[in-house]
Each structure stands twice: as C-alpha cells, then as structure tokens.
Symmetry: C2
Subunit: 491 residues, 2 copies
C-alpha cells in the first residue's frame, strides 16, 4: 500500500498527476528509460477498456490478428512520408546474439551476429502489415479486409510522462482495406465514432471530434481525424485517431485487386488507434486532491466493503460483509472486501479513495444491529444508510449516478472552457490566462499554424465535424478563413 | 479462401502440418526471419485459450500487470545461469534513431544514437520484473506477490517452425514471490495443474506431468516441471512449464523482506508459462488429412450453417439458416452462416472442414419441407437429421460428444504409445521404429542423458509425478537407478 501524500492540483498540477498515479498504484517508471511498469490496478483498467473496445471492434466486423514486432528497415523505407515521420524515434535491433565477455564480466553484444537489414521495433504497423496484405488481396472478394491488432509499440521519446508519453505503450491498431475511397472514408468515421462512444459513455470523458490539420496528421495519411478531450488544467488530450490513408500505402506496398469490372486497382486504406495514453486522460478528467476517481463502467472494482470490527466481533462483521459481497456479485457488480487486520479502518478508507473505487460500503456493529449498510460515494463523500434488503438496488442506482455525474461535470467543464475569440490578442490572452479550447478562424495556411504554435504553444486540435462554413478572417494573418478551428495547449 | 491441397499424414507429416496451417488460414511466415503472422482464425483460437487460462489465473489469486519489452544488458547479467541460457538467442537494440541516408536512399541507422547499455528484447521477464519486485517487497505483508503478464517474447531461433518454434511468440508468464519455499513449491504445482486442466479439459490434449531433468530445466531455476503431450507422429511436445526458482533470483536481484519474526530474508520465487506453441500441439493432436480439427471448447466457431440454395429460393433458405443461428446464439453457441453466393456448396463444405469447425449444419429445400436440419460431425463425417425444434439440444449433445471423443482418442494414443523397455537395445528400437514415450530406468547422471540424446535423439521428458521408487538399473550405464523416466523424441 502506498502512503503517498498527494500534492494539491492548485499547487502543482503536474506533480498532482504523478502523485495520483503513485498513490493509486497505477504505474511507475522502470529501469528502462521511458518505459513504464503498468501495475495491477492500472493494468486492470486497461483490460476493462480493452474488453469494451474489443467487443465494439468485433461487432463492427473486424477480426483480430497478430503481426511481427519487427519491421525490416527496408520495408519501413517504402512509404517516404511515413518513414520520415518515425525515423527519429525508432528503437533498432542490429544484433541477434550475446557472447561471454570473458574474465567473469558477463556478456557483451557479439559483433559477429550483426543483421544485414536492421529491424525496427514497430512504432506502428502499417509497413509490416501492408507488406503482407499485398499477398492476401487479389480480388474484390478479398475486400473489405478488416483487421485489428492489440500490441505493444515503441517510439523513442525524449521526454516521457507516465501513460501520456512513454517509449513503450500498449494500444490497438485497426487496419482496413476497401475497394473504394467512399467506403474507406465511411470506415474512418465509423471507427472514430466507436472511440467517441467508448470514451464518452464508458470513460465518461466528453470529446470534440473532427479533422486534424495537415501538419498534425499521421505521417503517410491523406487525412487524420481525432477525438480531443479537455483535462482539468485546461490542456487538450488527443484521445484516439482515425486515418484516411487514401491509396498512398497501397501504391507504396503494391497492394492491388481485380475489381468486379475486371480492372486491376489499388485499394483504399484506413488505420486507427487508441492507446494506454487514454488512461492518462482518464486520470486527469475525473480525479481530485484525494486521488484517483474511476467511472463505474471502467473501474476494475465498483464497490469496496470495509467491515469495521474489533477483535471480539470480527467474525460476525466480516461474515455480514461477505454476505453483502455475494449479493452484489450475483448482479455482476465487481466488489472487494477489505478485511485485513493489520490496517486501520482509516487507512483503508484512505487507500480505496486513492484508488478511485466509486462506492465504499461500511459495515460495523451499528449497521448490523439495524440491518443496514452505509454507502459512501467517492465523488462527493456523501453518506447514505440503506437497509440491506435494498442494498443491491441502491448500489446500482449510486453507480449509475456517479457515472452520469462524472460525465456531466466533465462536459460542463469542456463547454465552459471553450472560448470564441475575435482576434489574436484575445487568443493569446485566453491561451495564456484561461486555458481550454479556443475557437478561432484560421486560414489553413501552415505558416500561420506554425507561428501561432511558436508564439503561444497552442496547436490546432481539430476542425470539429459540426463546424459551419462561415466567412471570416484568420486570427493570425487576417486573410480569408472559412472555418473556426479548435486550438489548445495540448499534452 | 485457401485452395491448398493437404499432403497426407502418412506421406509426409511435417508437410501435412504446414499444409493444415495454410489451408485453415491459421498463420504464415512473415518477411521477418522466424516471425509469423498469426491470421484471424489462428488468433481467435489463441484468444479463446487466453480467455480460459486468464480466468483460472485470476481465480487462483493472480493479478495481471505489464513490464517493459526491453531488459538492459546489465540487468540480464545479474543471474549468471539465466543470462548464459539465453545469450545465444537475444535480439539486441543498440540504437534509437534512424537518419536520412541522403541521395534519396531512405534511412540508415544513426551512429550517433548508440545506447551505452544495450537493450535486450525480452526472451523472458525474470530479470526485468525482479529488478522491480525488489522495490515492491519490504515486508511479509507484501507477500505472496502473485503477478501474471500476457506478452510477446523474442528468442532468436535458427530453425523455426510455425507456432512450435518462432523467433517472436506470444505467451503468459506468471511470476510469484513467497515467504517460504514450501509455499512457493505449492504454487509451482498449483499452476502446473492449471495448465494440465486447460490443456486436457479444453484443448482435449492428455498429458504427462512431472519433473524435468537438470539439463532440461529453465536457466536459473532449481527445478522445472512440465506437462508433455504426444503428437500423432509419436513425438512429444512440452506444453507448459512451471519453475521452482528457489531463492536464486531473489539473491541475484536483492529481493528481501522483513518476516513476522523480524528477520530479513530472501523470499522464494516461481515462474510459469504457456505460449502460442500450444496451438502447434492442438493442430498435431487432433487434425486429420482433411485439415484442422478443433475441440468445441476452444474453437472460435462451434457451428457453421451452410444454406443450400438456388437463386429462386435463396431468401427462404438463408432466412431459415438465420433463424437457426439465432436459436443457437441464444444458448451462447458461436455460429456462422456461410451465405456467400460466389462459392459452391462443395467448396464451402471443404473450407469449413479445413478450418476445423466441429459441427456443420446443412439446410436446403428438403430440410425446410420436413422442418429438419442435417448435422454433420467434423470428426467422423456422420450425418444426422434432426427436427429443428430439437436442434439446439442435438447440437449441444454433438458438441459434447466431439469434445469427449477427441480427448479419448488422444488419451488412447498416449497410453498405447507409451512403452516400457528393459534395456538400451529395446529403447533404441522403440524410439527408432515406434516413437511415442518410453519409460526407462535412468541413473540421473547427465552423461548418460547426453549420450542417449546423441545416439538416439531422444531426450528425458519428465519423471512423472506418479512414478514409484523402484530398484533398477540405468538402461545406459547399468548403474543403480531409482526411477523410470519418460523419454521421447520431442519438438
């Protein structure tokens, strides 16, 4: 158990984030630069995200498969923009054997075992998958090809932060191939919507969805779409991306199919991914100065029961707690009883609060006498006494309310911290002093985008799908602009 | 769909194995030497194995976590026997950046981005995990620590074979830490039993369980236990291992705890793993000259419905098939309807047979008229007509029978191909001409073991748990021997 004191958000948000992760025992830095250890509580959250998302990926017709961890350098080289985008952050396997260093000095890399074509640890799997896809696809009958992979990914990051940016991370990556661009575009939107659904309705994080600017797009894609969430400190977090790859990769990897009309064509591709980064977003959306707060639909444990006993009535109180556990488990509510003897009740309350468990049930002598249980909500510390016969219903109701309330709070924040600005001065003022999303006209010229980023650190996040065509002036250069884009400081 | 013709087992067993994998679309070689692509049907089998095993791992109190893909060379060096055992098969990351080669030649490894302490792609995770465990464990309260990880593993193999031996493979690895050796020993046996349970009762593969010889044990373990299955060609397959690590690693990695008695002690550790290799065993246990055969409890699809229609009654027949599908799905039977128009019924039968789906249901005009369905068992091609109102029950019965029958067949083979031999001549004769397991006295001297292996290629598989202490003579050297060990040629 962690005795970590948690820094207040108002004192130091960055430190608070790290403290919550430590206190909730979600993850920690490993001895490998930039790589984290995902601890059981953190990993169980990831498993729940996987479960929800995997079902939706399968329900939309995709099949899971597994492709190699390594991409030969020569293969990575095939799509020029793609390799350029990842070259600076690749871990490279150059040798395949160690040998005894002699003199009891352990092992060294064996220079004799050098690879001709070095292997890149996948920074994403377009190259390695599409090399194979080119052999799988011959005819329109082989399309659409709808593949998903759950995998570990390595991108050599110079500055890392637990969950948000780590050298190794876990994700799913969908890769699909279609006969027409119209169909592949539909796929791109469909999967972005699946992400929006999971992130909003399970993780309780409201998002903006839309198109990324060219500069912020995936290397090799013709267009990238994303969902963008707002953290409590007013920074945006890109939470899932879906790429329209056009026929860039099918040309580079020579993927072809005989269409119904007999013509040989290059098919159209998409890829889309969601990673362990979202756990960083989850933490920063809901948690408070007491620690982690988890939405009921994604928490590994929804209810913790703390039997409050003395030595003489331990058996009776724990017995009652176990009965309640059984009742709740009948309704598929994941519940734990904390009956450790060597911890005080106070430190148990504290620990489960830090871990973000939505509902605490206290059962002591008084509760047993009155045939009641005390429910405590993690998000507002409200206590309610309920009779044990209504326990299951009351717990369910409370869980539902917490789920809703977390979403509503975050939604309210998202909306109240989205500002419309008229000119660049106001833009700079909001970014500097308020944070949040800023809606502003942009001419879509990359130079303006780059200068705004240089001067304010704010980047274009998305052109929201619901943005209306208007007639305005770019806040930076004053030239004609059709749309208001969303800008923000971002993780 | 694969049009692969499958070589007969009697002609060439090795080729048959590869043909089945190709015809059933389970996996294929990738462009990365020794790494495979696990195709959707193969991956779905792995997912089902994961589902069953993961539940049992959790039900026995273990928690999943995730540790880095990379092990620093200096960390790997800490346990001498361990690093020695894996040194020859390590993929090593030496650089972390590519750079433009100039002249449009793509990218090359940037020599400036060289790592001081090279990173080994994990060939197993003892070293990287135990480095961390040493910081997690201080007191008896932190024990037992029961961790499991689902991960990809890389061992640079010179000769690879799909599923059985690949450079990258998938597995779970359990790693536990206990206060006493007695407790860690119990864990070792408990988890070997979980493997036996999963392999026998779900994959329908009967096994021998027992202790490995010193030479065949895991590098760094004080004892290794395994389950051993028998393939149709008379070769053994090690199908899951559980290691008693003693306190070797806790000493090497400086893991210590304050015990209840106040003393600082090194704890006792175990590790245990089961990998995608088992899919090779699954294929070679049950499949036949027509292709893959899958046990109902592990197949991704238990039932395939083939509507047999002409253009004029397509709608009616497919409608009926869909009705049956719904009925079966209500009872959680995974079922697919193959209503493709561009494939003949014959090639559909063929395809699903190759893919090993246990039950085929044929529905055509005749079946509709008589309100019946025709069930066909994958394992004996027997056809039965059942009235649609009893369809679900009949399908369930058939699935149960297939599961039992597959296990019984394999069990019968295991038993009838386990031979007791009296002397070395007989030993050599059985290994050469019959295959299977050979039970023989062995003095437990490593030289005898090595010479027997040199001369016959047979290795010690296990000393079975139920072996009785006897008084005999080593079949090789004639010296005193207490136990009959199991020998076999092995994958």
């Amino acid at each position: 158990m962690s005795n970590k004191r948690i820094t207040k958000r108002s004192e130091d948000y960055t430190q608070w984030y790290l403290d919550v992760i430590e206190a909730a025992e979600l993850a920690e830095h490993s001895i490998v630069r930039g790589c984290m250890v995902i601890k059981p509580h953190g990993y169980a959250i990831w498993e729940n995200i996987q479960k929800v998302l995997d079902k939706k990926i399968k329900d939309t017709g995709h099949k899971n498969a597994y492709f190699p961890l390594f991409v030969p350098k020569s293969t990575m080289n095939k799509e020029a923009a793609h390799v350029k985008g990842f070259a600076k952050e690749c871990a490279i396997v150059t040798h395949y054997r160690l040998k005894d260093a002699g003199e009891g000095k352990g092992v060294v890399v064996d220079p004799e075992a050098k690879l001709q074509d070095e292997l890149i640890v996948r920074p994403t799997s377009e190259a390695i998958m599409y090399e194979t896809f080119s052999t799988w696809i011959q005819s329109w009958r082989d399309l659409p090809l709808l593949i998903n992979q759950w995998a570990n990914i390595v991108r050599w990051e110079m500055r890392t932060r637990l969950f948000l940016r780590t050298t190794e991370f876990l994700w799913q990556e969908g890769h699909t191939v279609h006969a027409t661009h119209k169909e592949s575009e539909q796929e791109v939107f469909k999967m972005l919507n699946v992400y929006k659904d999971v992130v909003e309705n399970y993780l309780a994080i409201p998002v903006y969805a839309g198109k990324k600017s060219k500069v912020e797009s995936f290397p090799g894609a013709i267009r990238t779409y994303s969902i963008e969430a707002l953290m409590q400190d007013g920074k945006a977090l890109q939470s899932g991306t879906s790429h329209d790859l056009g026929d860039n990769f099918s040309k580079a990897f020579n993927i072809k199919f005989a269409d119904k009309d007999g013509e040989i064509k290059h098919p159209w591709q998409t890829s889309w991914g969601l990673s362990t980064r979202i756990i960083g977003g989850l933490i920063m959306s809901h948690s408070d100065d007491k620690g982690l707060v988890l939405p009921p639909k994604i928490t590994p444990i929804q209810v913790v029961i703390i039997p409050v006993f003395a030595t003489e009535n331990r058996e009776q109180v724990v017995g009652k707690a176990m009965e309640c556990k059984k009742e709740l488990e009948k309704e598929n509510i994941p519940v734990e009883v904390d009956d450790r003897e060597y911890e005080t009740v106070g430190s148990k309350f504290n620990e489960w609060e830090k871990k973000g468990i939505p509902v605490r049930i206290e059962i002591g002598t008084k509760e047993i006498e009155e045939n009641k249980a005390t429910l405590v909500s993690r998000i507002n510390s409200e206590k309610t006494q309920v009779s044990t016969e209504h326990l299951v219903d009351e717990v369910k109701k409370l869980l539902e309310n917490i789920q809703k309330e977390l979403f509503n709070r975050a939604k309210e924040r998202l909306e109240s911290q989205t500002y419309e600005v008229e000119d660049y001065e106001e833009f700079k003022d909001v970014i500097k002093n308020k944070g949040g999303f800023v809606r502003a006209f942009w001419c879509e010229n990359e130079e303006c985008e780059a200068t705004i980023k240089d001067e304010t650190k704010a980047t274009t996040r998305v052109l929201p799908f619901d943005a209306k065509e208007e007639s305005g002036k770019c806040i930076y250069c004053g030239k004609e602009a059709k749309y208001k884009w969303l800008f923000a400081l971002a993780y």
